[in-house]
Symmetry: C2
Subunit: 189 residues, 2 copies
């Protein structure tokens, strides 16, 4: 079965400020909007891949029927300082580890490919009410050197970069990207 | 109405070797496959954006109903030598000019944005049985300096880069990209 969790999420998408704050996806979207408006980067969510099998015109709309395809890449793609960016945002309710079942084999392959061609790729992981940027390189290294089916929280804490929430945008992950990948360059940001 | 032409094309997609050879999209897809297999670049077609309104599980498939969204970016995205690539492939049957109605205002805005952030963006234009790579910069310049609703063939011939068909891949557009954007760098390709 194809990631029903994601789909459910798509339809229950509500920004809940009351309990745990905005959900992770809403935070990433907010940041991306901020980056676009302020000419910092162009980053967008890829459309959900649907195999369209039927179309129908009705009231100037194009209605579609189709079938969900499995995801073979990550959710977000974009350009920042000329570089190709490709990443995903994942939350886990577990407090002790991030289950690798959150990432498909196709996605792992995609991450390796992007790294091979010099793109920037990472996960934004929400765990224990904290948010981390976890580099693709670190993820692949972990998978290569471990038999484990999940990444322990401690590992994420030690090898990821915590993203502190702030004002405008709330989740300024490009600040971390800048530090991790563009260190030593002339940064005006 | 939303680009019904594109959609029709999606469903009539047949590779016709008999008449005019493979269609342009098939050629781009063939090249992208070649680039991936040979570790040259990762470039893929973005999914058609659908606003999913209903999902249903049936025989282990996820069936969707939805509505087509208008395209605000270009069809292809990818990473080549670390750089962000974003482009579209367009054919015209006109022999004298390429109608700008082929490109939406949102797409023009997207091209400008990608250029601003240092991404590589262009059109692959099929006209008069020839195929050209037409840089985003050249396109924007043309639009800024002209009232015309189409780009004359001569303009494309003079300011675009003709892509000669060859063997494996047939449409080696990255060869042109390499020459146009990476000139002077150490190119092993």
């Amino acid at each position: 079965m194809l990631y029903p969790g994601n789909i459910k999420k798509e339809f229950n998408k509500q920004i809940n400020y009351a309990n745990r704050g905005m959900d992770l996806e809403a935070l990433v979207n907010e940041a991306n909007k901020f980056y676009e408006i302020n000419d910092i980067a162009i980053i967008y969510k890829k459309p959900t891949p649907v195999n369209i099998t039927k179309v129908k015109y009705e009231n100037n709309k194009v209605l579609t029927k189709g079938q969900l395809k499995s995801k073979s890449s990550l959710d977000y793609v974009g350009v920042y300082k000329g570089k190709y960016l490709d990443f995903d945002a994942k939350s886990t309710l577990s407090k002790t580890s991030f289950p690798l079942s959150n990432i498909s084999n196709h996605q792992i392959k995609h991450i390796k490919n992007v790294l091979k061609h010099g793109g920037l790729t990472f996960l934004i992981i929400e765990i224990n009410n904290e948010i981390y940027l976890f580099k693709g390189e670190t993820l692949i290294e972990f998978i290569n050197n471990n038999e484990r089916k999940s990444i322990p929280y401690k590992e994420i804490k030690n090898n990821g970069e915590k993203i502190a929430l702030k004002y405008n945008p709330t989740l300024d992950y490009l600040n971390i990207v800048n530090r991790l990948y563009f260190k030593g360059e002339n940064n005006e940001k």
